[in-house]
């Protein structure tokens, strides 16, 4: 009797809490739990058949299908030029160091990776137009790439993430990146920092990303890859960030600075 009362009281609470979760995965897991509790309730209502069916279908099968369905609902669009060894098209597949890194990054964020090849001179334009999220493909080899603040109608923050007091950047890069830097946003401390860390440690690379819309607002990645940006100006539409690292920085010590 008491257990039945407790379960009955628990049901609406679990349902309401899980349905008002921000992250879909939490909501799905919460509803799986709800189904289990519901099955227990059926059992206490002397309906074992229904309880077995509900546990098998509601708690197991439905939850699995939901989890499979919401795995990847967004896409990470990467644009870059072919650079042998870093990003290259071989037999219809992209291979290379940066491709591996990007794949890991996209997987972390729960997004599908989609790479487009564009001439190096167009990468900047494409990124600034917002037609891609990240730039890749040996961008650091070209010092001439210049970054601008985003157009004014896009309320974005362009953030540069780098180790504090890292002044060993090549001199020709500084004027370009400095212009789009928000002060005091460099230390990042989030779950994503390890992903960024991996990126930084393993490769010479620079990427511009603009995480758009629902994938960053509702999706798996509600904690954004550049939390500094969201702190300084919470953007309604999207945000742009630049992740840049110095070719010369020794990986181990820099990594310590990144994860403060």
């Amino acid at each position: 009797m008491i257990s039945r009362t407790v379960l009955l009281l628990l049901l609406p609470v679990i349902a309401a809490v899980s349905l008002f979760q921000r992250r879909r995965l939490s909501a799905v897991i919460g509803m799986g739990l709800f189904s289990l509790v519901l099955a227990a309730t059926y059992l206490l209502h002397s309906s074992p058949d229904v309880a077995v069916t509900e546990a098998a279908i509601g708690a197991a099968l439905v939850t699995i299908i939901y989890v499979l369905a919401i795995r990847r609902t967004g896409r990470l669009l990467v644009v870059g030029d072919e650079v042998p060894g870093l990003l290259a098209l071989e037999g219809g597949e992209f291979v290379g160091l940066e491709v591996d890194i990007l794949a890991g990054f996209a997987r972390r964020l729960g997004l599908d990776l989609s790479i487009q090849i564009a001439p190096l001179c167009d990468v900047e334009t494409i990124l600034l137009r917002g037609d891609a999220d990240l730039g890749a493909g040996g961008l650091s080899a070209v010092p001439a790439i210049r970054l601008h603040r985003s157009r004014d109608h896009l309320p974005t923050a362009l953030v540069r993430l780098r180790p504090e007091a890292d002044d060993r950047l090549p001199p020709e890069e500084s004027p370009a990146t400095d212009r789009c830097e928000y002060p005091g946003t460099s230390p990042i401390s989030s779950r994503r920092s390890s992903a960024v860390n991996r990126l930084k440690r393993r490769s010479t690379w620079r990427a511009f990303s603009r995480f758009r819309g629902p994938t960053s607002r509702h999706g798996e990645s509600t904690d954004s890859p550049c939390p500094g940006a969201s702190r300084s100006s919470p953007p309604p539409g999207g945000r742009t960030c630049v992740i840049s690292s110095a070719r010369t920085s020794p990986s181990s010590s820099a990594a310590g600075a990144w994860t403060t």
Binding site: T53, Y66, G213
Partner: protein, 139 residues
């Protein structure tokens, strides 16, 4: 605790489900809420003729004890499976929409579909060959 019966809780679940179905914009959450609404109907049906101290409807029951009505339970088995079918199919459709729009936001998708519909009408009109002479004729 007479008021706290399965039927009451089922209706509260129904209210939670419909509220979420309206308030939240995320289609996946909407489907979860739809599942909740459907489950509420099932709980309601199970508990509607149930009284405490009833035994499960499997013979031989304990002597002298009433057994729960097996009829609603048999109905509910069908309802659970139907709900699963609805859910799987609607999830597939949500996945197709996500593949197309990269968003699960209901309003966004609705807006995009409406724009697409408007574009479709316009494109059909311009794509038509021999448009000029037909316009002449109507005049």
């Amino acid at each position: 605790m007479g008021w706290l019966s399965g039927t009451t809780v089922a209706m509260v679940l129904f209210a939670v489900g419909t509220t979420v179905l309206i308030v939240r914009k995320d289609l996946v959450i909407k489907l979860l809420a739809l599942g909740l609404v459907n489950s509420s109907g099932i709980l309601f049906l199970i508990s509607i003729r149930f009284q405490p101290q009833m035994e499960a409807p499997i013979l031989p029951a304990k002597v002298g004890s009433a057994i729960a009505d097996p009829f609603p339970q048999a109905l509910v088995l069908s309802a659970i499976v139907i709900n699963f079918a609805i859910l799987a199919l609607s999830l597939v459709f949500v996945m197709l929409l996500v593949e197309r729009y990269h968003s699960t936001d209901c309003e966004r998708i609705e807006h995009a579909v409406e724009t697409e519909k408007a574009m479709l009408g316009r494109r059909d009109r311009t794509v038509n060959p021999s448009e000029g002479d037909t316009r002449e004729e109507t005049r």
